[in-house]
Symmetry: C2
Subunit: 362 residues, 2 copies
Amino acid sequence: MNPAVDAPHESSAPTLAVVGATGAVGTVMIDIINSRPSVPWGEIRLIASTRSAGKQIPVRNVLHVVAELTPEAFDGVDIAMFDVPDEISQQWAPVAVQRGAVVVDNSGAFRMDPDVPLVVPEVNAAAIGHRPKGIVSNPNCTTLSMMSAVGALHHQFGLTELVVASYQAASGAGRAGVDRLYAELAAVAGKSVGLRAGDVTEALTAAGLPEQSPFPAPLALNVVPWAGSLKADGWSSEELKVRNESRKILGIPDLKVSATCVRVPVVTTHALAVHAVFAHPVSVEQARKVLAGQPTIVLTDDPEAGMWPTPAAVVGTDPTYVGRLRQALDFANTLDFFVCGDNLRKGAALNTYEIAELLARR
Amino acid sequence: MNPAVDAPHESSAPTLAVVGATGAVGTVMIDIINSRPSVPWGEIRLIASTRSAGKQIPVRNVLHVVAELTPEAFDGVDIAMFDVPDEISQQWAPVAVQRGAVVVDNSGAFRMDPDVPLVVPEVNAAAIGHRPKGIVSNPNCTTLSMMSAVGALHHQFGLTELVVASYQAASGAGRAGVDRLYAELAAVAGKSVGLRAGDVTEALTAAGLPEQSPFPAPLALNVVPWAGSLKADGWSSEELKVRNESRKILGIPDLKVSATCVRVPVVTTHALAVHAVFAHPVSVEQARKVLAGQPTIVLTDDPEAGMWPTPAAVVGTDPTYVGRLRQALDFANTLDFFVCGDNLRKGAALNTYEIAELLARR
């Protein structure tokens, strides 16, 4: 690794690369860089596929030209944030490492590799120190959207079981997902559909929407119990990510997890209903105190005043929002709660950027 | 009770009343009566509030005039199906009983009364025999939408724990809920909203939608973790209904239940992610066999072929649909699955009608 990163100073501030700079998450990465009062970077380099190379994007008031993804693009780069498909990360992260960069990767390619730390800075920052492959992985957006809250509670009460149901936004499937949801909404708006089996599908067809979609069923006026690809025994890849990544981030290899992942017609911000069992007794009062002490968490929990987080109310912001905090009536040491987090920010770009800053400042 | 109901025959077929005949659920009750090949009823009487009295509605090809809710309206009625607010049931069900009717009530007024059976015919038909108050209660729509499936599995494997997260449709809040969802969809369609905190609310305001809504937050492009009213310790009435009614219907007073109830922008059909723990070992294969043997259940479970139930695909039909059936990876004797049921049909009108027919045929 470039020594400039371990001991940054004015004259050798590290160079940051954003790979996948024009995608849904890459765009938010640049928003975050632009909105920070100060950044530890010298040069900032934007990199994308051939299709997007040459585009001009302002970064901290300077117009940057997007460079094409080539081995040479990584020369002189200290830290490279990747948000690209798994197979592109698989191929290009080692290239960037070979050219001297530490890679912070937001694909699924390396997350479960024992030689790649999987990091949420406020939960397991120390894990970043052991990175023999020069790669640090950013967790899946669904796992990440609850991890601040679950991690804080675990550190205090010792998590043993998680039962999770997700309400996942369309942007988890990228720009194409958002475009599709908007197109479907336009096709059903002003019509009395959703009252008869198949009439939503008919309305989409009548509006001329292509049958091919980023989602495996209509998302407008619907919820779809599927995200990702099919794994063994009927589990979806998304559900296994929630299980396996939670275990790795929290350092609980035998954590019991069942997740059901469901896509909902929300543009951005994942929500999760969480049933969390702990080793030690826990009250709502104690849990509130722990969560309120976390700078990354906002407690929005006053049902009497109609206050709990919803995706539309928190989208575009950084924190993890927790509400509906209840002590389970029939389960010992158990909390039920509802958590929302912007899947493009804390769920992707923000956490990736936080890892990059953590690397730059160490 | 009128003896004609216990032993119906041609010349004395029982008289059925539909109370709340013009509401969202009452309308579906009449649809169901109209679509049956044969019915055990003699006279069918439609009853509603003063506001709706006088309306003409066809029932089995005969135009019926809606009568006003008065004590006399129940004279000669053998079975009265009620779908009205709790306080109207509280007041009027005893009046109907006094006039000789058995009441099948779909409000929350009597469900937890130990002298009122809470019935799902395919799960606990026998409970109907003990009805000292002359009232039989129909469960809450969220509980009902999963009860066929959960009941069948319980009878075979002995249910001990339920962790449930709901995806509840707008029509659970009646016609006003459906109208509001459509109005909100029209207000956001064609706009790039849902990307910034509060912009959905702004779009609704800009479109002139009244702030007052059947829902406590925007439902378009959102999910809202609240249904019902606030009960002790932060629980919603809807969540406690799922717990308490499941215990009563299944006859498991110590069943462990945690439910998180969430409203989603779907017109009709509730869905639930269910984590069910049993006393006895259970495999997916065994569970499939049990569910496939139930005439009220449709297994839609082949993820390889992209098959699982969604609200938009099953709305307007009678069965309970089960998919995403998985054996929990980390919990003994545990199944995770996703279940959909039309909240106006099996979740309300259909089950109420099935109870009424059960009474008529006994």
